[in-house]
Symmetry: C2
Subunit: 173 residues, 2 copies
DNA sequence: TCGGACTATAGGACCACGCCTATATAGGAC
DNA sequence: GTCCTATATAGGCGTGGTCCTATAGTCCGA
């Protein structure tokens, strides 16, 4: 699991509460990582437990205190260890390809449906990434350009999927 | 979860034991689905429990009896239901993109390492799929061609990844 | 002859993760 | 006036999935 590391990475950019983190996940890194709110809070307390983060409690009126989490030196060390560690092999899993593999037992028009559904999903994904890219601009610093490249990666794959779908629809539709 | 459905799909192609299924997962559908041995056996007994599969016990000498699992009519119905159901949204998760996003805190050569590691992995993936495709041939029936298209999908994405990496290495290496 | 791979099953423990719920207040929409 | 959203936390429950272990015989190569 690298949920822990995703949180550490975000805490390294700036100190955050669990609530802030959930927003960061949804708004900033949603195109390649996501996290349930409950799991984010659990990960945070695990990080504090392990000495990788520290809590600063800021009381508020009328609502629970903000628990601002700061990354520690140990946390930064662990983050760097992860960043430079060789990628652990992640098994591929695609529900769509599984359906496609077993689709021969379906009538032809059902296969066509499967493909057109996939096309709709891929198109939406492409447009979402496009909009994000347009909102972010080109990026001036090296850091910004590296972060933006996660978007261009997603776009490249969405493009590849759409192209592949076109040849598929020509052959099977 | 569609582990259940992946197993049903394979059982629909031919009756199998848990052991056979594990081999099918590793050899046939590994490029888009994988399964732990323990989980396969648990899934099988769940399917039998739910009436979606039936067991035929074939005793053997010197080793445990083969428990050959046959898909039932109810199983085929469930398989069809899944195949035609709209795709449930699967959140994207990429450890590599996460690392890339947080890589700005690393020295430049470490970022280059990250990219070249990824290049190696993508190249291997591409070659593996290529070899599989070469071993399978072009496919004569519609069913064969549909199954083979899961390979061409993988190849398209591997190609896209390699192309993207090339522009990345030109910009950041 | 000894160790390892193959055939075949299955239980136990643990973990990551997702859904649902609870609590408490403020402010805006309808 | 009521309902929804935002702010902020956290526990509980269930499940899908991985790893490790146990059993037990055969067959093959070093």
């Amino acid at each position: 699991m690298s949920m822990k590391h995703a949180v550490l990475g975000l805490l390294d950019l700036s100190p955050l509460t669990g609530y802030d983190l959930k927003k960061s996940f949804d708004e900033t890194v949603n195109h390649f990582w996501s996290g349930d709110q409950a799991q984010i809070y659990r990960t945070l307390s695990a990080l504090v437990n392990a000495g990788l983060a520290e809590v600063e409690v800021v009381p508020q009126e009328g609502r629970p205190a903000r628990k601002i989490h700061h990354i520690t030196d140990a946390g930064r060390a662990e983050l760097d260890r992860w960043l430079t560690a060789p990628a652990e092999p992640a098994p591929e899993r695609s529900e769509f390809l599984a359906k496609l593999f077993f689709s021969p037992r379906l009538p032809d028009d059902a296969v066509a449906d499967l493909l057109s559904q996939r096309r709709a999903a891929a198109t939406t994904a492409w447009e979402t990434l496009r909009a994000l890219e347009a909102a972010e601009g080109t990026g001036t610093t090296r850091a910004e350009r590296l972060r933006l490249s996660t978007l261009s990666n997603g776009l490249a794959h969405a493009r590849a999927e759409l192209d592949w779908l076109e040849t598929m629809e020509r052959e099977f539709a």
